[in-house]
Amino acid sequence: MLNALWNDDAGGFHPASAPDFLPDTRLREVQLRRLRAVVARAYERVELFRTRMQERQLTPDSIQGLGDIARLPFMVKTDLRDTYPFGLFASPMSDIVRLHASSGTTGKPIVVAYTQEDLNVWAEVMTRTFASCGLHRGDILQNAFGYGLFTGGLGAHYGAETLGATVIPISGGNTDRQIMVMRDFGVTALCATPSYFTYLVERAAELDADLRDMPLKVGIFGAEPWSDAMRTRIEEAAGIKAYDIYGLSEIIGPGVASECEAQSGLHVFEDHFYPEIIDPDSGEVLPDGEEGELVITTLSKKAMPVIRYRTRDITRIIPEPCACGRSIRRIRRIGRRSDDMIILRGVNVYPSQIEAALLTVEGTLPHYQIILTRDQGLDQMTVEVEITPEVFSDEVRVMEQVRARLAQAIERIIGIRVTLSLVEPRSIERSQGKAKRVIDRRGD
């Protein structure tokens, strides 16, 4: 019946999306059953997890209800580094069919593993992701997420194939070819990081190609925080609907949560990934609706169960039901990561705030970089912003006004005066994946 609905061209419902609409009581039953199983599996097979449970006099039987999850120890990124490469695996290598790794900015990467069953779950949650962004069989998807050790490319790839879309596995980079393929192949949807897509739009304009004249209608963006103001710019510049998706390698890759067509928060695929919001300082679980750090437990992962993983991403659970009818809960878009936080003279500043401020000033998609220095013991922030044809004038007075307007916009939002430096076009390095927005020279 569900397949019949899906195969009807008018149908907007993919059978894989059924769990998105589970009644609440049924969803909690599924979660509890899976939580008990995953805790037992990790306890039996992963030394680090068993030791920490025993230190707290806990056994798998300590989990009687979903609320008991709060008794379990947290996992953090360094746990994955400390057990590098295979120390957290709960399956023998003979059952592991895929490894990915995330490049740490310092030292060793972290390694994640998948059984075939894990890959099937991954394809399922990515199918649900694409379906909730309105994609169908017949869509032509240009997948500009990087293929390789990064989870983005292959994660999106199998999900889109399972959906029945036509996948173009173009990976990141080679922007001129991306634009040619987009036009010549009649691409209707594209996956990329928002910063790379911004660059792609800019490059298309240089080549006199207007994305608004192409069949492209949906952009699926993830892997880095981006602001609502950036979304508006992207949607207008490319004539698309831009959706935010969320995921992290430690949990599975992309496919942990996704926006739906309501574009009002990201639905967490919580039958597989159980979300909690905690106070990042005390570790206490906060009620739905309160802002804090997102903690995720993989409910069905076999090769590498991850229990109560502290994501460092700051958000809140939206308790109200969504207009799209999905019953799985939503989280607010991630505007900031506690890792990205810059502490400047005692004030917390996030790159996303700077981005939002710059976008309030007339112009175009800004390329910017934040440079932190220390001068006589005092932290200084310089924001470098590339000038665009729209803001450039031959008059010094006008350019000084642009500079002042940008600096004031930032000061209004973060409450600190920064040095604003206009720089030449293309002087800030273009990223093909995650953008590097902050350069910290305070330790130099």
């Binding site: 000038i387 665009t388 010094v396 430096s421 206009l422 030449e424």
Partner: protein
Amino acid sequence: MKLQQLSLFLENRPGRLDAPLEAIAAAGINILTLSLADTAQFGILRLIVRDWDKAKQVLENGGWVVNLTEVVAVDVEDKPGGLAAVLKVLDQAGVNIEYMYAFSSYRPGKAILIFRFEDPDHAVKVLLDQNIRALDSDELIHADA
């Protein structure tokens, strides 16, 4: 008669001026005159060249943001008070000058002034009323010949 002036944004760092000038030179385009406005943080290079649309193309292909502005060139007696006479005319008519620069002409005894006016059409008319004629690009190009 108005002229097209090209403006470029430059960061105020050593060596930033070389690259655009080299790009223009490599394309075989001669610069008739230029002016550089600078602040502590950035500079604006203004150029008048023989073949402005080609120069604009070359610079844009090189990644510079190029702004095209209409300016007005007039020649004055190259002697004390030559500039003052023109400024007086403009002042009396209430014409606002955004900025200006000057260079010596090919014709003995003449200097050329380049004006960026808020309203160039109005300025040209005011000057003409006092028999001060704006030069066209050919006259400037001959200055270079």
